[in-house]
Symmetry: C2
């Protein structure tokens, strides 16, 4: 099954408490998502960059097997999105050092005709009006999941509410679920969000794992325990990539069912655990499907009880 | 197998953000522990109270099946330990409103002769010198686990280090593991603590579950997801009660093995999830072994992947 992802490509500057500062890193939601998803399913990428985007960044994206970059627009005279972030001591919180929107202030990229029949779609974090536009360009996808962030909850909640009425699933952070709903308990917050339309909500808790609130069930999964946390950037997007990639490849009659999404979350968890082990895409570039399968088996057995 | 627990009985005052304030509640580590453990194994309790302790508190303790109170000292003219705590909005953090040590400032209770052959022992949170004394009164237990708190890490770290050399396992909170070791990553902190003697360390993360760092393996388990969090007091002790109760009853040749402790953590997680659903022992008093088994089966299946 084909999977499409719309989102950003960025040039990142990252500061970490233990591993120093790195500049001119390949980043952006769609990049982390596609790199992770590509281990599972052919992934179509829709994003725009300026002509300042280093050629090797595009080469890296293309190096992930099965990633189709026909929807990647390189715009002459435009600037690529740049973001700088600094992680706090706990590595689970960060502050934004700077944001240069560049191409993100222009018209959003168009979805190529050949991509419009994609069966699975992930609308990575962007203005919910853009997400709605992307959603509407798709013919009749089987499963659409959106991500969001605190900014849109604060300034574009109405549009975001419309997005919730047009997707099967929503992925967001613990704090964002509380910000949106005013409910601190993640199960209560998730149930509240379900009332706005989606069939399931995934609440991400970083190193503490995630909670799935689905119309047909509830679960919590831990993060894969690791000592090796170099850079958490892209953890949420690679998590979503594993989640959606697995759903697109699993062959389930109902890929949005509680059981399918629950299993998919475990795959997302495992891919994300690799991603945080280095800066940028360095770790995801270095692993094989066999590495992923081995860690998945380890993860599944470590949480198996009863 | 017989299980012994040494610790405190208290009269608690609890303030919660959503469910008001309650006074004169039965509390204390040994009470929550024994109530939880009693679902699995005969549990011997060692603690002291003053003669101001309400008779119905003692009746409640005795009402838990298989709890042996021969080690419960009611001291004439002494005052029962009193503690007041206030929970913050997130229910995972609390501040102490007052502490009246009372009987805890006197000599610790003695372990009855008949209890000294106990095979499983839990040294609930108290001054590590008292924990060491309790440990030394036991003949040759098969498995000893201790709890601790930030206070002892701050003022009695040497004694606590001695305790670590005399127990099989340590249970402590996430923040305490960092305070003790200076390592924020729980796996790193756990490995550091293993070097001081124990075979395993359980790092409790409240609503985010727990991490097990064992000489023979590593795991993380989520908390049971629930909307019903009325009062988290005693969650850690009931968690330890389920953990130790299950280990004492499981019949494993090596109850301290990675596999045994991992399974036991899941039982602790489930008992603790009931405990937080009401003030004091109210919820644990109301459930049956069948309720516990049903939720355990639910928990095991919700986290089963692969």
């Amino acid at each position: 099954m084909n999977l499409i992802c719309t989102g950003t490509i960025g040039i990142d500057t990252i500061e970490t408490p233990g591993n120093g500062r790195r500049e001119e890193l390949l980043g952006g939601s769609v990049v982390y998502f596609a790199a992770a998803a590509s281990f599972y399913a052919p992934t179509r990428l829709v994003a725009a960059v300026g002509d300042d985007c280093p050629a090797e960044f595009l080469d890296t994206i293309k190096s992930f097997k099965g990633v189709d970059t026909a929807g990647l627009e390189v715009r002459k005279g435009s600037k690529t999105f740049r973001w700088g972030g600094k992680y706090m001591d706990d590595m689970d919180h960060r502050e934004t050092l700077f944001t240069e929107l560049g191409v993100l202030e222009e018209a959003p990229p168009r979805i190529p005709e050949a991509f419009k029949s994609s069966e699975f779609a992930f609308l990575a974090n962007s203005h919910p009006a853009v997400q709605l536009d992307m959603r509407d360009q798709l013919d009749s996808p089987r499963l659409v999941v959106a991500d969001t962030m605190d900014l849109w909850i604060n300034i574009a909640k109405d549009d975001l509410t419309k997005v919730l009425g047009r997707v099967d699933g929503l992925v967001l952070n613990f704090d964002e679920a509380e910000l949106f709903t005013g409910k601190r308990n993640p199960v209560t917050a998730g149930r509240h969000l379900l009332e706005l339309g989606p069939r399931f909500v995934v609440i991400k808790k970083g190193e503490h794992g995630c909670i799935l609130v689905h119309r047909d069930g509830l679960t919590a999964l831990p993060a894969y325990p690791t000592e090796q946390v170099i850079d958490p950037t892209g953890a949420g997007d690679s998590f979503a990539g594993g989640l959606m990639g697995w759903l697109a490849s699993c062959g389930a009659e109902d890929p949005g069912s509680f059981e399918s999404v629950r299993e998919a979350l475990a795959h997302g968890t495992v891919v994300a655990s690799f991603n945080v082990e280095s800066f940028s895409l360095d770790r995801l570039k270095s692993i094989t499907a066999a590495d992923l399968h081995a860690r998945f088996a380890d993860y599944a057995s470590m949480i198996r009880v009863g």
